[in-house]
């Protein structure tokens, strides 16, 4: 595999870019592997990579219904952060941020993790008290956090409305300097290339039709490209986890919703950080290409439809214009949707599925992208050893029986 570097880019420029290798192969599936991973999104590819790298398990296939990275990995708004309240969440997501911090060099693929910081605004005195509670919690959890006043927010996000007509005047906010954005496709491609280089087979256009079971144990999958057997099977199929669970005849506490995202036409740099204004239900960052990348809340009804709808667009974009009125005449270029799996506590599920031999990595809700390296790392640990890593243990689905929920919404004082 040609190593990527300034030097090879220079050399290939001179010889017409002819010397580059395939980023990954397109292998024909073998009849059996040590581990089969269903779903070649970020989590699936990262799992394969860490299985090979951390556990020496290289006889791995990642099978994908469509094209790799085509689910939520290629549809999200690319925010990476660990501004969480509970120690369990903070440990998980900050581990992910730390892996991201070195990911480009580790994978030899520039994933453009841009630690431009993220500010979550507060709009009243009670919200400032909650913000203080949040900042204190983050710092106690070892996560970087700053408590900002209005002027500090203004320096970071001058586009916000600081006028007297602002519906929710800005009092201050919570800032995480190490948060930021990444290039979502590059994360999938980087992991795919690095996993492939270690011998992992990534098999695209290969749909799982059925789980193969013997004696109550999952021993493989029947796919559109034939049967593939494995001693352990991991499902990383965000958006369709309930579909795989159905095949395994297990009930998952998951509801799937469309989550819409938006990008504007490219502009010269106008916003240097990620901004979330909760009362407007909208967050925004600017991509390196110049497009404003905007997200909001979930659609109101469960759906598998990966497309946008007008009412929710109006809710999110109207919120954007309220919070940043200068953007009123900026044009929306494109909008789309991904399907997110939402659990009762909005925290992910990592653990055995209930069907022996089948393991789940799902339920990341709206926040799967930022967790890709950690999700892959921890899921690989589980698949390789059959046991949880300490960081993933709190996220075992058994918590829905014991009541040990990790409900970040709860931490914000929202009783629900």
């Amino acid at each position: 595999m040609t190593r990527y570097s300034a030097f090879t880019v220079f050399r290939e420029g001179l010889r017409g870019q002819k010397g580059w290798d395939k980023a990954w192969r397109s292998p024909v599936p073998k009849p059996a592997y040590d581990v089969v991973i269903i779903g070649a999104g970020g989590h699936g590819l990262a799992t394969a990579y860490y299985l090979a790298k951390n556990h020496g398990i290289k006889d791995v296939a990642v099978i994908e219904k469509g094209w790799l990275g085509g689910g939520n990995t290629g549809r999200n708004t690319t925010v990476i952060r660990s501004n969480y309240f509970y120690p369990e969440s903070a440990a998980l997501y900050d581990f992910s941020v730390r892996l991201y911090e070195n990911l480009s060099r580790e994978l030899n693929y520039n994933v453009m993790f841009s630690q431009r910081g993220m500010v979550v605004t507060a709009h009243s005195e009670p919200e400032m008290e909650m913000a203080a509670r949040q900042v204190n919690a983050m710092r106690l959890n070892g996560v970087d956090a700053e408590f900002l006043d209005r002027d500090q927010v203004r320096k970071l996000a001058p586009l916000l409305n600081y006028g007297p007509d602002m519906r929710y005047p800005i009092h201050g906010g919570v800032f995480q300097p190490r948060a930021g954005t990444g290039r979502h496709d590059a994360v999938a491609w980087g992991f795919a290339r690095a996993a492939d280089a270690q011998g992992v087979d990534i098999i695209q256009n290969c749909q799982v039709l059925e789980l193969l079971t013997e004696g109550g144990r999952c021993v493989g999958v029947r796919t559109s490209q034939g049967e593939i057997r494995a001693s352990a099977i991991g499902a990383t199929v965000a958006g369709h986890s309930s579909v795989i669970a159905d095949m395994a005849q297990v009930d998952l506490p998951i509801t799937s919703y469309a989550l819409q995202a938006f990008v504007s036409e490219p502009l010269k740099p106008v916003l240097d950080t990620v901004v979330l204004c909760p009362p407007f239900g909208t967050y925004i960052s600017q991509s390196d290409k110049g497009g404003l990348v905007i997200g909001g809340g979930l659609d109101r009804v469960p759906s598998y439809g990966q497309r946008g709808n007008l009412p929710m667009q109006e809710a999110v974009l109207a919120g954007l214009v309220e919070m940043m009125p200068a953007l009123a005449s900026v044009k929306l270029l494109r909008h789309w949707a991904g399907i997110v799996d939402v659990t009762p506590d909005s925290s992910p599920i990592i653990g055995p599925s209930g069907l022996e031999g089948l393991y789940l990595n799902c339920g990341w809700g709206t926040g799967g992208f930022k967790a890709i390296p950690a999700g892959g790392y921890l899921f690989a640990h589980l698949l390789a050893t059959g046991h949880h890593h300490d960081l993933s243990r709190p996220f075992d689905p058994v918590r829905f029986t014991t009541g040990h929920l990790i409900d970040e919404g709860a931490a914000s004082g929202i009783a629900h």
């Binding site: 009243s124 005195e125 007297p164 007509d165 005047p169």
Partner: protein, 169 residues
């Protein structure tokens, strides 16, 4: 907290608002509004029932809200509470809802700024989400007159929504 008194316009006294083109918004003072809930309350009411998009002509009438609920307009005085004899829950809501008549050729156009409305699609219920507010909406006395009941605490918002929507016509 902040003092936001100046940020929010003080609610004006309810008066008739005359827009151009003869569009008027008139606050209506009804003698009484009574909420009645019970099994088959619709079938058992003695009064004409207003549904969408018919025109109400009676002075006493019942708004069909849902399967088991009507709002009786200008009906007789009834005691609040559970009426075991007729198996109905009764509440005086005369002060719960503010009522407006929106009249004129362009009344329907204004309302279409606030909801997806169609006169050619009938509905048994007059409950609507209009400008984001839960209201009761029906036609009263004339095909160009729309009557709206809105929670009193939201009357100011409703009035403002109409005023903003109007110049767009």
């Amino acid at each position: 907290m902040r003092d936001d008194s100046k940020k929010w316009d003080a609610p004006g006294a309810p008066t008739t608002l005359e827009m151009s083109d003869g569009l008027t918004i008139t606050p209506v003072q009804l003698a009484r509004q009574t909420l009645l809930s019970g099994v088959d309350v619709l079938g058992r009411t003695q009064h004409p029932i207003a549904a969408w998009s018919g025109v109400v002509t009676a002075q006493t009438y019942a708004l069909s809200l849902r399967r088991d609920r009507v709002l009786l307009v200008n009906g007789p005085a009834l005691a609040d509470g559970w009426h075991g004899d007729i198996a109905q829950a009764v509440s005086d809501v005369s002060d719960c809802y503010s009522v407006f008549d929106i009249r004129g050729d362009r009344a329907f156009s204004v309302l279409k700024r606030g909801a997806e409305l169609r006169l050619d699609v009938p509905s048994k219920s007059v409950a609507r989400l209009l400008f984001g507010l839960g209201v009761f909406l029906y036609r009263f006395e004339a095909t160009d007159t729309f009557r709206v009941h809105v929670f009193r605490g939201q009357a100011e918002t409703f009035f403002k929504s109409l005023k903003f929507a109007f110049p767009s016509l």
